[in-house]
Structure formats: C-alpha cells, structure tokens
Symmetry: C2
Subunit: 390 residues, 2 copies
C-alpha cells in the first residue's frame, strides 16, 4: 500500500489555507471522507479540522492506529461523538463545512454544538484545490491506467457470441480487482451511483436512462437501470466498453469499441469521427479555448463530419458535456461543457468522451483520461485505440 507522503499532505493543506484566507474562513471542518482523504491521507472514520492559523487536527472514531499509519498529519486524536469536538476548537467566527454533500440533519446538529459561528459552504475550495494534480497523484492514475491496459487487453478473451453484457463486465471487474482495482467509483452526489461495468451492445447502446450520459444502457432491473444488462452479445453489432478503474482512490476512465465478426459500417465511420473530435478538441485545449468553446467546437465538428444528429445522444436526450475532470471523484473540475466558461488549467486531468448514439441501433464512443501539463495533452489511458474485432 502506498501512503501519501508528508510533503504531499503539507502542500495540500498549505494551498487550502491560502484559499481559506481568501474566503475569510477561520477554519474548516471536513466530514466527507473523500475530502478528508485528500487532505489527510486516510479514510478511517474521521473528522478533519483545519484552522487557518494552526496545524490541522484529525479526530478519529475508528480505527486510530490505522489512521496514524496512513496519515502523516501530526495531530491525530480519538473522539467518540461530534459533541466532543467544540471543546477542542478555540472560538472562531466563520467556519467552512461541506454543505454540498453533508445531510441536512447532520449539519443542523453539528452547527448547534457551536455558539455564534457562521458556517459557510467550503466545497468550492476543495474543488478548486483538486483541479490540478500533483506528480504523486499522477503516478497513482498511471498505475490505474496500467491496470486498465491489462484489463482491456483481455476483453477479446471475454467476448464471445451469446455471452451477456454483464458477464463481460463481471470478468473485467474480477481481473481488474486482482490487480488492485478497488471496485467502487465515487461521485459527489446523493442519487448518482457510479459503477464500472458500462458494457453496451447493439440496441441496448441506444437506450437512455437516469444518468446524464448520451446512453444509459438497459441495466439489470428497475433498481439498477443503467450499464451492462443480461442481453446476450451477438455477432456484427457494436460493443461499447466504458470501464473505469480505481487505484488508491484515483480513477481513470476510458472507452473502446469491439465487435464479434465485423463492425457495421455506420459505427466504423462514427468511431473515426469520435477519434477525430477527441484529437482536435485536445488541440484546442492547448490553444486555450474555454470549456464552453471546446464543447461548441466539438459540436460543430460533429455537424461537419455529418453526425450532428447522433453526437452526444439523439434528441431530446442529448447531453451538454463532452468531458469531466477526474481524480478521487469521477466528476471533478474541470468540465468540458456548455455551461462552463473557464480554460483548462495546467495540471488538470480530465476525461474526454465523444460519443454517438443511433436510435434503436446502438452507440459508439471513444474516451481517454488526459493529463494537461506544460502545454501538452498526454493520454494517460493509452490503450490501443483501434476497433477490436474478435
């Protein structure tokens, strides 16, 4: 197991404090484990407090000896109940909390323990902080990508006529786990559950579902109506394999296309178009286009290449994003989307996923996780990108 080094955690805390100062926060609490993992290095059952003018304290409920081993923070102390917390915190005026994810009841209960304190949402700070990845983080994402390469290399072995989509997903998952993939992907959302087994074949690739994705798939039941299904994979239909990998909490996302026998021509053409859009948009990232400009540019390209009707879904189910930042959450800053106006910053890691959906026929798509650094877009998920015919 790799633990976050002290310098890494110190640098994150230092950056956070700069942002806290700008936001006039005297301190900030981190109850949400994804956020305190980033700032402490541990996901043991904890609560992190970062005061502006002193060292952070990690309060640990269970299990403190593991937290002490995993986290390089200096102050790691036990606690039993949130009621114990205020006595450890000197009087402050303005404190941050993760109000975007913390349940209402928990917020009210926690705030009630403090006197005349103003609590504000500090989630914009942690999101800002995580936009740029460090070499330590990139190394973990490279390792995730390495697992991904090995798993994708075995897909032809798992694909055969009559196998179900979910069987392919299950086999990929089992192999990925044996290499250290953690099974769960993570999203900052009450209702959206990430999953890795997004394997869609033929007509199920054109099915829309609850998720904000050009194609949701059929899924397994009304209780899990997305992703791979019990549909049997047939010859000569497009098979989209969109499989995320998670290593030490760091995720990479990628999509490749497969077929048994042959790939129908329309999907060959559409896949080429997806790759072209992918490549040309990355050029524009380097040129400094804003998120919205990148999105609009990709849409124009989709039109020019003759796929406007199918690009990022068909009407009225088109989606308004082409990419999403990725790290310890599956969707982080920066997004490539119609509603976002920033440029992509140096150090960002994002997934870009041009996809086409043909009603009642199926879908195709191409996706990579990209590291933008020193004016270059480098593909982290550099698995072979040709259509694989089994």
């Amino acid at each position: 197991m790799k633990y976050a080094p002290k310098e890494e955690i110190d640098a994150r805390i230092a950056k956070l404090k700069t942002l806290m100062e700008k936001a006039s926060l005297d301190g900030a609490f981190f109850h949400y484990k994804i956020d305190y993992y980033y700032l402490s290095g541990t996901m043991q059952d904890s609560l992190l407090f970062v005061p502006l003018d002193a060292e952070p304290t990690l309060f640990v409920k269970r299990e403190i000896s593991r937290a002490r081993r995993e986290s390089p923070l200096g102050n790691i102390v036990p606690y039993r109940s949130v009621k114990d917390i205020p006595q450890h915190v000197k009087p402050m005026k303005r404190l941050g909390m993760q109000l975007d994810v913390m349940p209402y009841n928990d917020v009210i209960k926690f705030q009630g323990l403090f006197g005349n304190v103003e609590f504000v949402d500090s989630s914009p700070l942690t999101k800002e902080l995580r936009k740029r990845k460090s070499p330590f983080e990139i190394a973990l994402m490279e390792k995730a990508a390495e697992i991904g390469r090995k798993v994708y290399a075995r897909v032809p072995e798992f694909l055969r006529e009559g196998v179900t989509e979910i069987e392919v997903g299950g086999q990929m998952e089992a192999y990925a786990k044996s290499l250290g993939h953690e099974g769960l992907l993570r999203v900052r959302s009450l209702n959206y559950e990430a999953y890795t087994w997004h394997i869609l074949s033929g007509r199920t690739g054109s099915i829309v579902s609850q998720s904000d994705s050009p194609m949701g798939g059929l899924g397994l039941s009304p209780a899990f109506p997305v992703g791979a299904s019990l549909k049997k994979i047939r010859k000569n239909e497009p098979i989209l394999v969109d499989f995320g990998i998670c290593y030490h909490g760091y995720q990479v996302d990628q999509t490749r296309m497969y077929a048994i026998g042959s790939m129908p021509d329309i999907f060959v053409g559409a896949y080429d178009a997806c790759r072209e859009i992918h490549d040309r948009v990355l050029d524009k990232v380097v040129e400094g286009y804003t998120s919205r400009e990148l999105f609009e540019y990709s849409r124009e390209l989709g039109d020019k290449l003759g796929y406007g009707e199918y690009y990022l879904g068909y009407k009225p189910h088109k989606v308004r994003f082409l990419g999403h930042g990725i790290g310890i959450e599956l969707a982080e800053l920066p997004y490539i989307a119609a509603s976002h106006t920033y440029s992509i910053e140096d150090g960002a890691v994002f997934a870009i996923e041009p996809k086409m959906v043909f009603p009642k026929k199926g879908c195709c798509g191409y996706e990579n996780t990209i590291h933008y650094r020193n004016g270059e877009c480098r593909i982290i998920t550099d698995t072979d990108d040709s259509i694989v015919i089994v």
Copy 2:
C-alpha cells in the same frame, strides 16, 4: 425484469398516508432514489410528491418513458428543474422531506422555492413503512438468496493456496452478476460505502477498520481500507466469506466459513458457538424479546460458551449490534442492538451475524438473512452451514 405491481405500490402509498396523517403532514417529497423507488417502482431520475389528500405525482427528469413503464403510478410528468415543482403543488402547511440524507444545500434551495411552509424530516415514516416486507418483496429476496446459494456453492472452486482474498471476491462477484446480482449494495449514509467482497483470511480477519463491524479487514489501499485485500490465502487458516447479493434492489446478507487443508480448532469451536448463538437468539425472537434483550442475551451466551473476550470483536473494538434489518438498504429497521428497545415485528426481515475475532489470529462468523413471520424465524439464505474444507 420484474416491475412492482400496482396493488403493491398502492398498498405502500396507502400505508405511508396513514403515517403522514399521524405525523400531521399535508404531503411529502421524496428526492432520495431509494425512497422513491420503494414508493413508485422506478429509479429513473425523479422526484416523488405524495399529498395526503390526492394521488401522488412522480416528476421525472430522465428518462420518462422508462419511468412510465416501470412505475404503476398514474401521474407521471416531466420536469426540468426543482424550480418547476411548486407550481404543481397546492398551498400546504407542513411537508415532509428526507432530511436525514438530503444535502444541506439542496434542502435550503428547495425550501426556498416554497412560501410559508414548515418542512419536517419524514425519514422516520419511510423507515417505519419498510420494517415489514410484503410477499412481493420476499419473493425478490428469495431470488437474491437463490443467487447466493449458487455463488457460495462455487467458492471451493475459487479457493486455492496462494489466491488473493480479492480474487476470490472478484470471482464470486463475476458469477453473481451473470445471475442478475446488481453489484452495488446500498446504505443510507454519507460516508459508509457498502461492498460485497468481504473475504477475510487468517490474520486479516482480525484487522479492525473504519466500519462499524467486529472486523473490517485490510482492504486494498488507504482509500479502500475494508474488505478483501491482496493478501494471499494460505492453508489451515480461517476464511470468512461474507458476501451480500442484490436483486432488483433487494439484498440478502450471509456469512460462511472455509479453510484450505484444515480449520484450526479454535475456529471450529468458535464457529459452533456462533451457530448456537444464532439459533438460540432466533428462539428468543419468537418469544418476543426486545432488540436490546436479544443483544444482551447473545452476549451472555458468548460469555457462557467461553468466548466473551472475542464475541463481536475484541476490546476496545467490540461492536454493539448483532443484527440489522435488510431490504432495499443494507441496514434498515429492525436492528438487534444494545441501543434499540423494540420487539421484532411480524413481517420483519433481518440479518443476524454472531462473529468472533481473535487478535492477530483471525475471525469466524455465521450469518443469515431471516424472515420473521407468523411466529417463525425462517432462514432465507439457507446455504449449507457447515465449515467447508477445500
């Protein structure tokens, strides 16, 4: 795919309204998908409104045609933003919301759309409602248990010297998915993530982690420090296989013990004790013991049988529950725990899991999902319960 029949959903809504009336609610909103799945039959991206004096309305963002197919509700209408909701709701005084899980920011935003309305936490109502399972629900849990039986039957095939814990978990998962298992388990919690691959062998079985469980396991990294690990399974050590199955959202939980070569004597004895505690506690469920009494009785039994030191964990990591209700969430009412004082009601389904942990040596445990009905405790997960030696 099985859809919930109209009578099933009608009965649930009718019971909810009885509880709403008692709680003086004019209506209730359900934003959390687990809750609106129970009340509508669909998990499409929706928002359910149940007024006390009229039919419910399901507002659907994506994808409405699937929601209409999956849900037998009469009023299923599209919506784009929560801002559209108030215009569809006649003026009311007191409305319920799932304040135990809904993020603070979302609650504030939603409440701000309404005028002078009092919003109260309605989660106790849905929890109360789900305590008793219907024949429709039991049939889905039976199906989950059937998948579980098949998966457990193949464990000896997956176990061999040198295989890692996570490989065994991955193989079980892959096979379970091919039979319709949905991969994710669900828990009503910000930070607790359920997972199915709780496979612990030898010393990792004595490792405590973040989770409120007698043994958490080593896990794969600081970002996923629970459950199966990359530790290789060796001969003559106890192997605990605690693997949950989910079918159409309904979960069952069970634990069995395995060994390669032979099972060390202390674990043979401890496993017998677990089975005895399991059986004798179920007798007391029938006799009407309260939750706390059941828990305390089990603890006394653990002492009498000579395992007090190890029962439900070792000090200071002992847990204070023996069982948990189970259904569309992994932990529902009723619990068998020191802090709960009710009796187990007719129609309840719960998992009971006596477990023993020996510091630095390993653990053992026995667990079943039980349906308590007409004065009988029936084991749903009736997989063979002897120690399996491979």
